[in-house]
């Protein structure tokens, strides 16, 4: 628990692969210094990010690749999510008004908000004109 972690998984963009991603993250948080009561939330944040890529980045085509890399030590739990779908910067997404959502019966548009609620950093970068890179970081220990 708390030892350095470097792991990677690669899935294609069918939503049925979400549970594999969650199991991968679940094993990693359990081996990490992420406090027990934060573990489910971290799994959720990654699930939201990967679900977004699955649902939006490849615009309906299947077989698109998604790589999820986890790096963790006593100071941070960091997840890098990479895909080759369309460019998308979650920084453009405005925080939702949940009560308005409910009153209007709006079902979507909460994933980016949840990611931001849970993680300490949500950084987007577009690399080499070909790769979307989303980094989610949770600070641990003294850095919290």
């Amino acid at each position: 628990m708390g030892a350095a972690i470097h792991r990677e998984i690669c899935v294609t963009n069918e939503t049925e692969n979400l549970h594999k991603v969650r199991e991968f993250v679940s094993a990693a948080v359990q081996d990490s210094a992420v406090p027990r009561e934060e573990q489910n939330k971290v799994i959720l944040a990654v699930d939201e990010a990967v679900a977004n890529v699955m649902e939006h980045a490849y615009e309906g085509t299947l077989g698109g690749s998604i790589r999820v890399r986890i790096e963790s030590d006593e100071r941070r739990f960091e997840v890098l999510i990479r895909d080759h779908g369309r460019r998308f910067d979650p920084g453009r997404i405005v925080d939702p008004d949940i009560e308005a959502h409910v009153r209007a019966g709006r079902k979507n548009g909460l994933g980016v908000f949840l990611m931001r609620q849970i993680m300490d950093k949500v950084d987007y970068d577009f690399r080499d004109e070909a790769e979307n890179r989303l980094t989610l970081v949770k600070f641990l220990g003294a850095d919290r």
Binding site: T15, E16, L18, H19, R22, N40, K41, L44, D47, E48, A51, M54, E55, I98, E99, H101, V102, R103, A104, G105, R106, K107, N108, L110, G111, F113, L114, Q117, I118
Partner: protein, 115 residues
Amino acid sequence: MPDLNITCEPRGDGLTFLTAEGFLDAHTFEKMEKTINALFDEGKYKLVVGLEKLDYISSAGAGVFIGAIGVAQENNGNLVLLNPTPNVKEVFDLLGLTQIFPIVGSEAEATAFFG
């Protein structure tokens, strides 16, 4: 494969009891959405959703309930959540939904809610 199982039991008093078991995520939410919509289409708007066996919910899953509660209320019904597990309850908290959805701890409380 981990998935979502739904059961659905209309009762004599006009309430319909649903249970959701497993994982309610971006892969499975449509199953729940279709189930609830089919009840609405038949005029059943008083729903109690048992969540005691739901292991996981993400925003796509919560979104189904967000979309449904207004429809239920607009038609003299409601959508009551019964016994969410701590994990699921926490997601509702994060989304600010615990103030919005009626959450009860027993079938009797759910029945009383619709009184």
